[in-house]
């Protein structure tokens, strides 16, 4: 029948004017025979096709079936929680997916299987989502990630050593980070094993993983990397070395710094604090080897100041605090040099500082740059306290409000005092915002940051907004907060 249908197709392609219709097989001869060749051709083709459809057989595959996924051990999230996830995956409040994943991980639950492909695909494009996603990926998710190359990033968790050896660069970086987190020494040994055979791009990417569990044990390797062929690798090694306070690198830089920054006690009773900066006019070759460079100078700063900043930023603040507090030293510093010293210390604090040092600097000048760099070092209680001060200093909230920046970059404890001050700031701002756009900018930021326990207080503010231009953005903000509340309730139920 198949051969006959092929012949009919050939006739149909050429046309009955050029080819005659072949005699049908015996099975079709009992049918009513159409009068014209065209009708015959069409009728035979349709009938043969019907015969073939009715007698269709399936193909067999010789491929071995895939090994099945291991059984799940965690309970699946509730139906309402799955509904919330479906809505987010459909595009509604998609930015809340990381929070959703965190809540699921906290409750030791798992995601519905049919949602996994969409989440893995989101993680493929959005690297920031991966860490949260990996925490909730159970056996089925890992099995699925093995079936699609684009989702292999998720597999670094399961078999880091193999993925480091066999994977592509992003996978290898993820795997080495994983190994460093589990066993720093083993991670370093793995890196050292491939170092000489890796390209500059690979060396740079892999070297940065040493930031996980960085310790003095990594110093020798990093010191050798200061002589690497690649400039970028050398710079990365220096950046890492400055994060090891006990390293010889930091000692060398401290020696250099002490020739540029002089903090002394003067006067008869040696009580008056004197601070003097001597900016280096040139770089010694040894200093250049340690990653201090002439290029890459930020705008608004001179060459000498740039050298000073790079060197002082490698020195732990503890070195200078032996004389007096950071605040007093900054106060004693000549006004024209104070900004440079502050910036250098912020960078030093970011590398090796403590929470107390970070707090002192952020309180001294709460600039956006200082907050961005130092907020991660602050304790939650410190973030609360500084934010309260900043909110009281400027009640009107805007996108550039440093208090909001601190809430974004730090980890606030969200104590009652902070909540009260934030509500007071929102209340004031609702009255002062003159248009919806201005309000939306701040509210869209706040709505994902603030705890849902603020919802009742924020609801009461809505009653005061009749005919206000900010009523719609504020209501949208409340709707999103209510969604977060429903989401949390559904997962915790």
């Amino acid at each position: 029948m198949h051969a006959y249908l092929d012949t009919l197709t050939t006739v149909a392609l050429l046309g009955t004017a050029k080819r005659s219709v072949p005699t049908p097989p015996a099975e079709l001869r009992h049918l009513v025979q159409p009068a014209t060749p065209e009708a015959q051709l069409l009728t035979y083709a349709a009938t043969v096709n019907l015969y073939l459809q009715a007698a269709r057989e399936t193909e067999k595959t010789a491929r071995l079936p895939l090994p099945a996924a291991d059984p799940e051990t965690k309970p699946v999230i509730s139906g309402p929680a799955a509904n919330c996830l479906q809505q987010m995956l459909g595009g509604h409040y998609r930015d809340l997916v990381p929070e959703f994943l965190t809540l699921v991980a906290q409750q030791q639950q798992r995601l519905p299987h049919h949602c996994l492909p969409q989440l893995l695909e989101l993680g493929h494009y959005d690297k920031a989502l991966r860490a949260g996603l990996l925490k909730v990926l159970t056996n089925r998710g890992l099995w699925l990630a093995r079936q699609n190359v684009a989702w292999n990033y998720a597999l670094a968790v399961s078999n880091a050593a193999d993925r480091f050896t066999l994977g592509k660069l992003p996978e290898r970086v993820a795997a080495l980070t994983q190994m460093r987190a589990a066993n720093a020494e083993q991670g370093l040994a793995a890196l050292a094993g491939v170092w000489s055979t890796s390209s500059a791009k690979e060396r740079l990417a892999l070297l940065e993983t040493l930031n996980t569990n960085l310790s003095v044990a990594d110093e020798t390797f990093l010191d050798a990397a200061l002589d690497d062929k690649s400039k970028f690798v050398r710079q990365a090694a220096a950046e890492l070395l400055k994060r090891i306070p006990d390293s010889a690198f930091v000692q060398r830089m401290t020696t250099h710094a002490k020739t540029m920054l002089f903090i002394t006690r003067e006067g008869l009773l040696k009580k008056r604090l004197a601070v003097r900066l001597e900016l280096p006019s040139a770089l010694a070759p040894a200093v250049s080897r340690d990653g201090v460079r002439e290029e890459g100078k930020p705008k608004g700063i001179g060459k000498k100041a740039w050298r000073f900043q790079q060197i002082v930023s490698c020195v732990p603040l503890q070195t200078w605090r032996q004389t007096d507090s950071l605040t007093n030293i900054l106060n004693a510093c000549p006004e024209e040099d104070r900004g440079l010293l502050f910036t250098s210390w912020v960078a030093a604090c970011e590398a090796t500082g403590t929470a107390a040092e970070a707090l002192e600097l952020v309180t001294y000048i709460p600039s956006a740059d200082a907050i961005k760099a130092l907020a991660p070092l602050l304790t939650p209680a410190q973030v609360d306290a500084v934010t309260i001060t900043l909110l009281r200093r400027e009640r009107m909230l805007s996108r550039s409000h440093v208090g909001l920046l601190l809430l974004q970059t730090g980890a606030p404890a969200w104590g009652a005092a902070l909540q009260k001050d934030l509500v007071a700031s929102i209340k004031t701002s609702l009255k002062k915002w003159s248009n919806a756009w201005q309000a939306r900018q701040v509210l869209e930021l706040l709505v994902t940051l603030i705890p849902i326990s603020l919802l009742p207080q924020l609801r009461t503010l809505a009653a005061t907004l009749d005919d206000s231009p900010v009523q719609i953005p504020y209501t949208e903000c409340l709707a999103k907060l209510e969604f977060r509340e429903r989401m949390a309730q559904a997962i915790n139920a």
């Binding site: 069409l42 009715a54 269709r56 299987h113 492909p117 949208e476």
Partner: protein, 444 residues
């Protein structure tokens, strides 16, 4: 109060934009007033204007009304009110409906009564009806003659010559068949344009589909010699409208019906919703079709995939009855895993294909076969996604199906029991049980 789900509300939306717009109104703060009773839900939504919009939904007959100027139907306020009702039913206190709701419901009820009275009292003009049928028969007959001439011209010149034909070849013929009041044929001709001339089997596919048209023409001309049920199938394939009044009066099939699939397709501005219903006791499978025109149209029957209800269905006469109307239905309940185990099930693809052969033997115009097949494992090969049965037989998953990875995730490499539609060439997955019933609602 009946339980609504977000998915059910989604299915009422005129388009995806409306769903997004409605979801922005889901704060109860935007609704200074919401209320509900057994017949309706209502609310006032604060928009950008000074006065809030008054929105009401007739739950019994699924009708919406809103004071907003939107031309979409239902508007975002109507949808948002239903979403709120589905997600936060506790916010809707049982109260006496305000006047603007009761007046609207009363007016609707009045109109409905009038319609029914007119329909009951108005005698059927049999002479005029016969005239209309004769006129349509004449038009269809002329249309068939024209279609046959068109087919024969194509065959005489050869399909290789088609590249010289205008691009509107199929659309023109389909339009002429619509004029001839043969929409079934018009649809088939229109579908020919979807065959890609670059495909390897284009010529044989095209020949087979043109051949189907020739068979239908021949069958229609001999309809008086055919058994009544075959005649009904032929007339349906041509596009004769189906009389539902007689069906309403005829005895139906009472069962617990499981709604396992909803598919919405849009042709021009006509939206068609196809639901597959499985009878739990009888094992019958029914296709329920409903149409709505444009963005203003709404499907009248409240159906949600994943629901079951007691009800009576009347099947259209056919050698292989599939299409049915819903005569009555009770309040819906969610489907449980035990419900799915009661459905008649094929154990492998050979059994499924035997079932398809029987369906074709009964009605060679049967469009597709809804099936439940157990022991299937989705597999990804170079050519795309396939399903493998317990004997290593494989069939392809329909290329139009976009959720094959979800099916893989549900399976995890282990066999699953799949509810699907066999189209003759592909399996189109409709539903599968995992932690809950996963239905693949398809919308183009």
């Amino acid at each position: 109060m009946a339980q609504w789900t977000t998915a059910q509300v989604d299915s009422l939306a005129p388009d995806a934009k409306s769903i997004k717009a409605a979801q922005k109104l889901l704060s109860i703060r935007r609704w200074p007033l919401v209320g509900a009773n057994d017949a309706a839900i209502w609310g006032q939504c604060q928009g950008s204007g000074s006065k809030p919009y008054s929105t009401r939904v007739d739950l019994a007959n699924m009708a919406f009304k809103c004071s907003c100027p939107s031309r979409k139907f239902p508007c975002k306020h109507g949808l948002a009110l239903l979403y709120l009702y589905a997600q936060q039913p506790s916010a809707f206190t049982e109260t006496t409906a305000p006047e603007w709701v009761t007046e609207w419901l009363a007016a609707r009820s009045e109109r409905q009564k009038k319609k029914t009275t007119v329909a009951k009292t108005k005698p059927v003009d049999t002479v005029a009806q016969a005239k209309r049928i004769d006129a349509r028969e004449a038009k269809i007959s002329a249309g068939l003659t024209e279609l046959e001439r068109w087919l024969h011209d194509l065959m005489r010149a050869g399909l290789a010559d088609l590249s010289r034909q205008p691009q509107t070849l199929y659309a023109d013929m389909a339009a002429r068949l619509m004029d001839a009041q043969a929409p079934g044929l018009a649809k088939q001709v229109h579908a020919l344009a979807a065959l890609r001339p670059t495909a390897a089997d284009w010529a044989s596919q095209l020949l087979q589909q043109l051949g189907d048209l020739q068979l239908l023409i021949a069958a229609y001309r001999r309809q008086d010699q055919l058994p009544p049920l075959v005649k009904a199938d032929v007339r349906r394939a041509i596009g004769w409208p189906e009389a539902t009044q007689a069906l309403q009066a005829a005895p139906g099939v009472t069962d617990t019906w499981l709604v396992l699939a909803l598919q919405v397709t849009t042709d021009d501005r006509l939206r068609t919703r196809k639901a597959w219903l499985w009878g739990q006791q009888t094992g019958r499978v029914a296709m329920f079709l409903e149409q709505a025109f444009g963005t203003l149209g709404v499907f009248q029957t409240q159906l949600g995939a994943g629901q079951k209800w007691q009800g009576e269905l009347a099947f259209y006469p056919s050698q292989y009855p599939q299409r049915a109307i819903i005569k009555s239905k009770s309040a819906p309940q969610p489907i449980t895993p035990a419900d799915l185990l009661t459905l008649p099930c094929y154990s492998d693809f050979n059994e499924m294909l035997n079932g398809y052969s029987q369906a074709l033997a009964a009605n060679c115009w049967v469009p597709s076969l809804p099936v439940v097949v157990q022991g299937l494992t989705p597999v990804f090969t170079d050519g795309g996604f396939n399903l493998r049965d317990a004997h290593n037989n494989i069939v392809p998953i329909a290329p139009s199906f976009e959720q094959s990875w979800s099916l893989m995730a549900v399976s995890g490499g282990a066999p699953i029991r799949l509810i699907a539609e066999w189209t003759g060439a592909h399996l189109l997955p409709l539903a599968v049980w995992d932690d809950a019933l996963i239905t693949f609602t398809l919308e183009d």
